[in-house]
């Protein structure tokens, strides 16, 4: 593997020598003076410099004396690169006077309103005024005044008086996010940060500008005046908004979560978060939060005590089990921790005896595909020769993976080949984009790895195919990012395409792009039909597993689609929903409705009362992100720890405790007394998780998690390239030795330990289908529907977070203008969209980028909504053919 962790040692030989304040040090060729000095413990003050962005040398705070042909001169340490023999004086009289001078200048027009500033107490301007400032100001004139604060975006407020014009925010927006929605405007001392007058700064990544603002100029609307930094308590944890698993710090004040900050985890999120993840903590305090168990009495759900709710659930499960264990089905768990998922997999498969268990909701890929393909990490994708994108618009579903791949493509570290039915946010960066009609991706995949002359493409499409083939070559060092491009085409067609790519490019590895936070962990834990923990088939489960689990179900279970089909047919007696909401999330809306109406007993473990749990028989309140401990597995298979920061409201339980309790009531204790014992049990019975126990994950050097199967030969982790002022609050906590509480465990020690790890068993037992799955040809009068998700939707998280409400845009149908012209309607007009299963009226948007055979929109969870295109999807079909009609 291309292991960036090996970088520091490889480069050791070619280091050059410089002198910093008289001390000789080694530096990497091409390294900036500021970075070389910092590694040796010499802190050069700075504001505009950020280690993850191109330097601009603007704020002049980092002026140091540097030797040159004409003697020493003042140069910006953040801009000048080291050269062999260079002498640097960071603390000479002249350098100090320059630094003090700059700091005094920065403060002349600064309002010094620290007492009422959110940044006060964690402010690099305050800190460096103390460490590198002149101590007092000689400025007696009237300061510059602005109206403040002004709202420049949905989450971001700007105080122009505090701004020091360092351009970190505008550079982030342009360079990192690719959303140049803010820029500096005006000139000289009138410079301000401005969005375009009619276009607010609503980038999905806007919150990062607040985190990297070195003063209190940019503040977060949801955090303003909520806390003082010195009152904050914090733990390191993993974001569970999507499956990228960004490392973050959860901060609370007075027992409430008030802020998430991104951590600079080099292999994962490199300090960035998306806004949905950053502000997701608000969902804990939404009005639909479930804090008490509820039992349906008549038409109403009534709050009851745990024992009453559990008794009802246990009775239903026992009765169903007695009749036919296969009449029990479990759906969901992809938002739970690994321990929760494991406990429920064990309960379902070993106690209840059903294999009809699925963490996915018909919106993912077959478990064998996800678990059976050779895997790649995010880093490996970002440094692969070629990345083939066959999945959703990453910016909408896995925002920080989008940032990582965007950066890699821009740096020419990798080349992108995109296979998609409609353009995505990465299309403009792709070397080649291959367009396909939904349902027919397999044909394209075959053309890509087979003989392109045999492919059905012609003209430009054939030319593109040839170019893509040339890029891909023999498939060495190729990573396929694999997910669902559209919810209106079956996952089986994509799985079939993946099988073709795998067969044709044996060297290629795959990075899953399934979106739900811990879907990969849940599948790894066995929450899928025919699957046992550790990426192995149930049929070939290890002795260790059989010892722990006892008897395993004999008949193969059903996946979510088949579970719902059985339910609709009246064959399911008890449906357990593990934090899942099929009514909102299952692509075939009609099937989900029919199923949930028919099932006599729905047991829902929920954090919020959503569409499905509102109709359940029993609702059990469970922990949300920020309240729970355990581990989670991201899309690359990285297992990292979740940390509980705040107490649970009401009588909320962790899902694994619910499973244990039900098991006990059914007379079959699961045998796990503590969360840690579950983590350890997983490491014993799940081959892919061998050795990844609580002790290993609790090690401070492993706080970025470990990729499973665990390779102990890899160095634990790089020292984090944290800019001391880029991640406010976090570093100072590290340096002051305050405990970083990981999980519920005790504060962890700083020493890396030696771990005894058994060799992980390669997961070979899962067999992917190699069947050719291609939708029937599109008829001449129809078009194929493409439905992708968007970041802000009608999902629980957005709906229950006050700051995010209203961010979901109303969907429109994107159609090629010539198709609109055929109908005689203009962009904006409503049309009727008819499929075999229904019809929906929706406004159109003309879009030249849309293929003529395709119409596209976004998937909504707006169950009662008028333009709910999910009503057109039929789960039994491989693609959704629609016809447009005028109204």
């Amino acid at each position: 593997m291309t292991d960036i962790r090996a970088r520091s040692s490889e480069a050791a030989e070619e280091m050059i020598s410089i002198t910093v304040d008289g001390t000789p040090i080694k530096a990497h060729p091409g390294e900036l003076i500021i970075a070389a000095a910092e590694r040796e413990g010499v802190f050069v003050p700075r504001f505009c410099y950020h280690p993850r962005m191109e330097p601009v040398g603007m704020c002049r705070m980092c002026l140091v004396e540097v030797s040159g042909p004409r003697g020493f001169s003042l140069q910006p340490a953040c801009f000048l690169k080291v050269a062999d023999g260079l002498e640097v004086l960071t603390n000479s009289d002249k350098a100090r006077k320059a630094q003090e001078g700059v700091l005094e200048f920065l403060l002349v027009n600064h309002p010094l309103d620290c007492p009422v500033c959110d940044k006060g107490g964690e402010c690099p301007l305050q800190d460096q005024a103390l460490s590198h400032g002149p101590g007092e100001s000689r400025f007696v004139e009237e300061k510059r005044h602005w109206a403040k604060p002004i709202e420049i975006g949905h989450f971001v407020e700007l105080d122009r008086e505090r701004c020091i014009q360092c351009a970190r925010c505008t550079r982030f927006a342009d360079e990192i996010a690719g959303d140049a929605e803010i820029d500096m405007s005006a000139r000289g001392d009138l410079i301000e940060i401005s969005p375009f007058p009619t276009k607010p700064f609503n980038s999905y990544f806007s919150g990062n500008t607040i985190q990297i603002c070195p003063v209190g100029a940019l503040t977060a609307a949801p955090y303003r005046f909520k806390a003082r930094p010195w009152d904050l308590e914090q733990v390191e944890s993993t974001c569970t908004t999507c499956s990228v698993g960004c490392r973050h710090v959860a901060q609370s004040s007075a027992g409430k979560l008030v802020r998430f900050l991104g951590i600079d985890s080099d292999p994962v999120n490199q300090s960035w978060l998306c806004d949905k993840g950053r502000f997701s903590f608000e969902t804990l305090y939404g009005e639909h939060r479930v804090t008490q168990p509820m039992l349906r009495k008549g038409d109403a759900l009534v709050e009851v005590r745990w024992h009453e709710a559990l008794a009802a659930a246990t009775t239903a499960l026992r009765d169903a089990q007695a009749a036919d264990a296969a009449s029990i089905a479990v759906v969901g768990g992809a938002r739970f921790s690994n321990e929760d998922a494991y406990a429920w997999a064990k309960l379902a498969k070993s106690v209840l005896g059903t294999d009809s268990v699925d963490a996915q909701l018909g919106d993912g890929l077959p478990a064998e595909t996800v678990l059976g393909l050779p895997r790649a990490t995010i880093d490996e994708a970002c440094s692969a020769r070629v990345v083939i994108l066959l999945g959703p618009d990453l910016r909408e579903e896995l925002p920080v993976l989008f940032l990582r791949l965007r950066a890699a493509a821009l740096a020419n570290a990798t080349k992108l080949v995109e296979i998609s039915p409609v353009e995505t946010s990465l299309s403009s960066l792709a070397e080649v984009r291959l367009s396909y009609v939904p349902g027919e991706s397999r044909l394209l995949a075959e053309g890509l790895v087979g003989d392109s002359e045999q492919a059905e493409a012609e003209g430009d499409a054939l030319e593109d195919l040839r170019r893509a083939r040339a890029l891909i070559g023999d498939g060495s060092d190729v990573v396929v990012v694999l997910g669902r491009p559209s919810l209106a085409e079956s996952g089986e067609t994509i799985a079939s395409s993946a099988a073709a790519l795998h067969a044709g490019l044996p060297g290629a590895r795959f990075l899953s792009a399934l979106r739900r936070a811990n879907v990969h962990g849940a599948l790894d834990m066995g929450l899928a039909p025919g699957v046992a923990p550790g990426r192995v088939a149930l049929a070939s489960a290890s002795e260790e597993l059989t010892r722990e689990w006892g008897e395993l179900p004999l008949s193969a279970g059903r996946d979510a689609t088949h579970i719902l089909q059985s339910a609709a047919a009246g064959d399911i007696a008890v449906l357990v929903l593990l934090g899942a909401d099929p009514l909102s999330d299952f692509p075939d809306r009609s099937l989900a409705k029919a199923a949930l109406e028919r099932v006599p007993f729905v047991l829902s473990l929920a954090t919020n009362l959503d569409a499905s749990s509102s109709g359940a028989t029993v609702v059990l309140p469970v922990t949300a992100d920020g309240e729970r401990s355990g581990t989670t597995t991201n899309l690359e298979g990285r297992v990292s720890r979740l940390a509980a920061k705040v107490a649970t409201p009401g009588v909320v339980w962790a899902p694994w405790i619910v499973a244990t309790e039900i098991g006990a009531r059914l007379g079959a204790p699961l045998g796990a007394a503590t969360l840690e014992s579950l983590t350890d049990e997983i490491s014993r019975v799940a081959p892919a998780y061998a050795g990844v126990d609580a002790a290993l994950l609790g090690d401070a050097d492993r706080r970025d998690g470990v990729v499973v199967p665990f390779d102990k030969s890899l160095v634990a982790s790089l020292p984090r390239p944290i800019d001391p002022i880029a991640t406010p609050g976090i570093t100072s906590v590290f340096e002051q030795g305050a405990p970083i509480r990981v999980g519920t465990g005790e504060p962890v020690g700083g020493q890396s330990q030696e771990f005894e790890v058994p060799n992980a068993t390669p997961a070979t037992a899962l067999v992917m289908s190699s069947a050719v799955v291609v939708a029937p040809r599109l008829d001449a009068y129809s078009q194929r529907l493409v439905l992708g998700r968007s970041l802000y939707d009608e999902g629980t998280l957005v709906e229950t977070s006050p700051s995010m409400q209203g961010l979901a845009s109303s969907p429109t149908l994107r159609v090629h203008p010539s198709e609109l012209a055929k109908l005689g309607v203009t962009s904006g007009d409503k049309v009727r969209v008819r499929s075999a299963s229904g019809s929906v009226e929706i406004a159109t948007t003309a879009d030249e980028s849309i293929d003529r055979h395709v119409v596209a929109s976004r998937f909504t969870q707006d169950v009662a909504g008028e333009c709910d295109l999910a009503a057109l999807i039929e789960a039994s079909l491989l693609a959704t053919d629609v016809r447009l009609e005028t109204i």
């Binding site: 342009d174 000139r187 401005s194 969005p195 375009f196």
Partner: protein
């Protein structure tokens, strides 16, 4: 793209093409939009963003850096009184004060009839005419109070129509040659 007129859109596309990279046409296009509207409207900036391949915020941010580009409406005649050193030594501030009192507006303001906007300008490179004034970037000077009144009267009467076009018009001549032939080819495109 809708705001620039058909004719100006043709000119705009030509401008974008004569540069190796279209963003270089950003400022010439801002001048073009100002010539059409008298100032740089939001709609025009969105057109320019599309023509130059940048975001509207970048057009706004860039345009606002430059004194000649007005993102708010201004008068038909922008009267810029230079007050820099050479003009100041010859009475420029007295001319500026007279301009303000005679037109009844302050610096940066526009008369109610929409005819005049006053600017306190930095050196306009007309120091041999000190104190000098530019009207829509056409030079007048040396001026005293009486001279200023005469200038305003001439502007009002239209006597200077040949010399001073409406605000925003920089050149009344378009580049007409060398557009189709690019001897360099697409070297840096």
């Amino acid at each position: 793209m809708a705001h620039l007129s058909e004719e100006n859109l043709v000119r705009a596309r030509r401008l974008a093409e004569i540069y190796p990279k279209s963003r270089s046409a950003l400022i010439p296009l801002c001048h073009l939009a100002q010539a059409q509207d008298g100032y740089l409207s939001e709609e025009a900036m969105e057109d320019i963003a599309e023509l130059c391949g940048v975001s509207p915020a970048e057009v706004y941010g860039t345009a606002s850096f430059y004194d000649m580009l007005h993102t708010e409406p201004v008068g038909r005649y922008v009267v810029a009184v230079c007050t820099n050193i050479a003009c100041m030594l010859n009475g420029a501030y007295e001319v500026l004060e007279h301009a303000e009192s005679s037109l009844g507006i302050g610096v940066g303001q526009t008369t109610d009839d929409g005819l005049f906007t006053i600017e306190d300008a930095e050196c306009l490179a007309g120091c041999d005419l000190a104190p000098c004034v530019q009207v829509n970037h056409r030079f007048f000077g040396p001026l005293d109070a009486a001279g200023f009144d005469g200038l305003v009267a001439d502007l009002r009467s239209g006597a200077l129509a040949d010399i001073v076009p409406a605000h925003g018009v920089l050149s009344r001549v378009d580049r007409s040659n060398g557009l189709e032939v690019d001897p360099v080819g697409d070297v840096a495109r």
